[in-house]
Structure formats: structure tokens, C-alpha cells
């Protein structure tokens, strides 16, 4: 398992070299979006309107941080569970998204979209939001302010630690649970 330092926006070459299990330290600009923001983002795409940020080469982080205390750029900021975004993810990947960051397994359609459009899915440590926030140096809401905590944020990250869960070649890091060993097959 290799370790990479990558800077956004990501290119096809950046993504193709990655294999499930690789560690990546991400720097540059990434965007937050979760359930409600994805719904609105896809409504814009359906009607041919421009998304609030350039999707080509972009990285979306499935996060909805806690409020920033006065002395910090952002509050606690760990990943939310990704399968809820699978309703929208294949569409967003088709517009050039190169990576999403979350936790938990993706569905077949999203995994296929990652193969078809040369993209990846990163996992970040769920429940380590205080720690992960220390890799986010700037954060500001850029769209869908009306969604409150679910608004889209532009975040500047420095060496944000992620693991490749699904690569662009069909590789996956999550293994199937061993029901036989647990006595429940």
C-alpha cells in the first residue's frame, strides 16, 4: 500500500495510479455537500444550470461540521455515512467529480460510475471530527446558505488524511463480514 500527496483539482492521472488501501494526504480546495445539498446540486444539473463550483476534477467531502468556535476556522468535521449520497453520486461523478470522501460502503451504481468516469472514493476516520478539523485551514459557505448546517462549503485543506476505499479499477478495501466465524451463516 502506497502513500501519496495529492493537490486538488485532481487529474485522471492522479486518480488512475491509486489502489484500494493506499493512503493519501490531500491538499488544496475541497467542497462539503451532504443529503440536502446533493438534492439541490442535482436539480441544478438536471435543468442545465451551472453548479456552484466546478465539478471537473473536484473533491466532495460528505461532511456537515459543528459550528466553528470563535478561535477556529471550523468546528468538528468528520465524514458522514456515504450510502445516502448514492442516490445522487453517479450523476455527480458523470460531471467530472474525481473523488468523494465519506465512510461506509457504496452501492453498485456508484462503484460502476467510479470505474466509468475514472474516479475514486476515499474514507476518512468516522468519529474523529476534532482531529480531522486540524487539517482544515479555511472554510466558508459558498452556496445553499438556506440549508443551514447542510450548506455547501469551500474548504482549504492541508495534508487531509484519507484512505482509498474504492479505486477507479473496481478495487475495494472493505471485506465481507465473516458470518460463519460468528456462528450466524
Amino acid at each position: 500500500m502506497a502513500e501519496y500527496k495529492l493537490t486538488t483539482p485532481l487529474t485522471d492521472d492522479d486518480v488512475i495510479q491509486l489502489r484500494a488501501g493506499d493512503v493519501v494526504l490531500l491538499s488544496g480546495v475541497i467542497y462539503s455537500a451532504r443529503d440536502a445539498a446533493h438534492k439541490k446540486l442535482c436539480e441544478l444539473l438536471e435543468t442545465g444550470k451551472a453548479p456552484p463550483f466546478k465539478l471537473q476534477g473536484a473533491v466532495i467531502y460528505y461532511v456537515d461540521p459543528s459550528p466553528a468556535p470563535p478561535d477556529r476556522p471550523i468546528g468538528s468535521a468528520g465524514p458522514t455515512t456515504s450510502y445516502r449520497m448514492d442516490f445522487f453520486a453517479p450523476r455527480v461523478y458523470s460531471y467530472g467529480l474525481k473523488a468523494s470522501i465519506g465512510k461506509g460502503k457504496r452501492n453498485g451504481e456508484t462503484r460502476k460510475a467510479m470505474r466509468d468516469y475514472k474516479a475514486v472514493y476515499f474514507g476518512a476516520a468516522g468519529g474523529a471530527g476534532a482531529l480531522l478539523s486540524s487539517s482544515i485551514v479555511e472554510s466558508q459557505v459558498i452556496a445553499f446558505d438556506e440549508l443551514g448546517p447542510e450548506a455547501i462549503r469551500e474548504m482549504k485543506v492541508k495534508d487531509f488524511p484519507v484512505l482509498v476505499i474504492n479505486d477507479a479499477h473496481g478495487g475495494e478495501l472493505y471485506a465481507a463480514p465473516d458470518l460463519k466465524a460468528a456462528g450466524a451463516e
Partner: protein, 279 residues
């Protein structure tokens, strides 16, 4: 009769919300440490190291342990010899949640189920009241995050399925949940009562300390049996494999209808924000 002022209840609840948000209970921290020592997989050890570092950092900086500061669930036990003065206890608890989530910079995650409009202050809380003997008021607070809550289930088994059926359902639930609920998790199992009561029992089971032992030796053995089985699933910390899929299993059981075997599985993430106060 002892008199408790309503404002003291609000203050106590606000304080619990803030402390629970940033301080991992000692018994949970200790279990994570033990798990890290025991794990042989470097990935599992690294994830557990990050979770411990996260807990240290949250305690020091007062940043929330997790950005999902949960829906507030409170168990309120009112002693028979307690008189509450100055207002309504449900309103006092909600006022405490409102205050704690605002002042603690905790995320407000409660919304209308249909319009999805955020209520803005993390209320209403889920409050379970109980009448108990004595002259004390005991409140236990749990912050339930959405990721693990979504992996919880209630089912009605046939009585013939018995303990084997219970075991099979719990194991399959934890297996299917995989990485979603932020393993290593704590599994609350409610057995008996009725459909609604089983869910409440499963939640209430999570209010126990991880290092306690169930007073009924048969149930204590069943907790151990399930914990051992679940840790053979290989889901591991954050679903990346390893021997620590759960930090503990807590069972709460009650008599039920002779035609039924109600069962609820409430999965709680490793960020087990739990706090208790006795007034």
C-alpha cells in the same frame, strides 16, 4: 418530600450536553485503549490510535468529539418523594438541551421529518420518563448520531426462534451495518416488552457503563457470548478489518406477550457520548 427547582434541571441538562459532547467516558476510552493493544492489524491499530488522539484533542480544545452531536435522548427517573417547583419538567429538559447545544458549539441536527427544515436548536429531545422510589431525580443523557441510529432495527421474532434467533438477528444486523455506524460500536439489545418497549429497552441498555456486569448471570453470559461472536465478524475499526467490531454488548430484557418475541438492536458508535446526573 424534597423540592427540586426547575432551573436546576435546565442547568444540569445543559451541562451534561456540553460535557458529553467533548469528553469520551473513561470506560469507553479504556476499552479503545485495550482494543488497540490487542489488535494485530496495523490499519486497525492506526484507526484506534486516531480515535484516542481525537478524544484527547476534543477534551483539550473542547471541540466536539464528532461533528454529529446527535439527537439528545434523555432518561429521566423521578423519585416518588420529589416535588418539582417552578415549571414543567419536559420544558425544562428541552430548555437545557437548547442551552447546552448553543453554548457548547454543538451541531443542531434535528429537523422536520417531511420538510426537513431544521428546528434550529436541536429540540425536541427524546425524553423517557419513569417513576421510581426515593427522593432523587436521575437524568441520563445520550447523544445519538444519525449514522449509527440508521443501522438500528426492531423486529418481532416468533417465540420458537428463541435465543438462537436473537443471536442470529443481532449478528446479521452488525454485519450488514459494516462500516456505516462507525465501528467499533456498542450494541444495545432490547428483548421482550412489546414492539415499542423493546426499542426503549435497547436504548436504555446503552446507558450502562461498558465495564459493568449484568446482575442476572444468565444475561451477563449472553452479553459475553454475543460480544465474542460479533468480534469474530472481522468488520473491525471503521470497517477496515480487525478483531474489534464491538466494544461491548448490553442486553435489557423484560417479560412479553406469550405470542411474541420483540427484539430491538440499537447500535451506538464508538463516540459513545453518555452522561449522568443525580439531583
Amino acid at each position: 418530600m424534597r423540592t427540586i427547582q426547575i432551573k436546576d434541571i435546565t442547568e444540569a441538562v445543559a451541562d451534561m450536553c456540553m460535557k458529553a459532547g467533548a469528553e469520551l467516558p473513561g470506560d469507553v476510552y479504556a476499552r479503545l485503549q485495550q482494543a488497540k493493544e490487542k489488535e494485530t492489524s496495523p490499519t486497525a491499530r492506526e484507526i484506534l490510535r486516531q480515535l484516542l488522539e481525537n478524544a484527547d484533542m476534543a477534551k483539550k480544545t473542547r471541540l466536539p468529539l464528532c461533528q454529529d452531536c446527535g439527537i439528545a435522548v434523555l432518561f429521566v427517573e423521578v423519585g416518588d418523594d420529589v416535588r418539582i417547583e417552578g415549571g414543567n419538567i419536559r420544558e425544562a429538559v428541552n430548555a437545557g438541551v437548547r442551552k447546552g447545544y448553543a453554548e457548547g458549539y454543538l451541531r443542531k441536527s434535528v429537523c422536520d421529518p417531511f420538510t426537513r427544515a431544521n428546528t434550529g436548536d436541536n429540540t425536541p429531545a427524546v425524553i423517557h420518563f419513569d417513576a421510581v422510589p426515593g427522593d432523587k431525580l436521575r437524568i441520563v443523557f445520550l447523544a445519538k448520531g444519525g449514522g449509527c441510529e440508521n443501522m438500528s432495527r426492531v423486529t418481532m421474532l416468533a417465540p420458537a426462534q428463541g435465543w438462537e434467533g436473537v443471536k442470529r438477528f443481532v449478528i446479521n444486523r452488525v454485519a450488514d451495518a459494516g462500516a456505516n455506524p462507525c465501528p467499533p460500536t456498542i450494541v444495545g439489545v432490547g428483548v421482550g416488552g412489546a414492539f415499542d418497549r423493546a426499542a426503549e429497552l435497547a436504548e436504555k441498555a446503552l446507558t450502562r457503563r461498558l465495564d459493568d456486569i449484568h446482575p442476572n448471570p444468565d444475561i451477563a453470559a449472553k452479553e459475553k457470548e454475543l460480544e465474542t461472536a460479533l468480534n469474530k465478524l472481522g468488520v473491525g475499526p471503521m470497517g477496515l478489518g480487525g478483531e474489534t467490531t464491538v466494544l461491548g454488548v448490553k442486553i435489557a430484557a423484560e417479560p412479553c406477550h406469550l405470542a411474541c418475541l420483540p427484539l430491538a438492536v440499537n447500535i451506538q458508535c464508538h463516540s459513545h457520548r453518555r452522561k449522568e446526573v443525580v439531583l
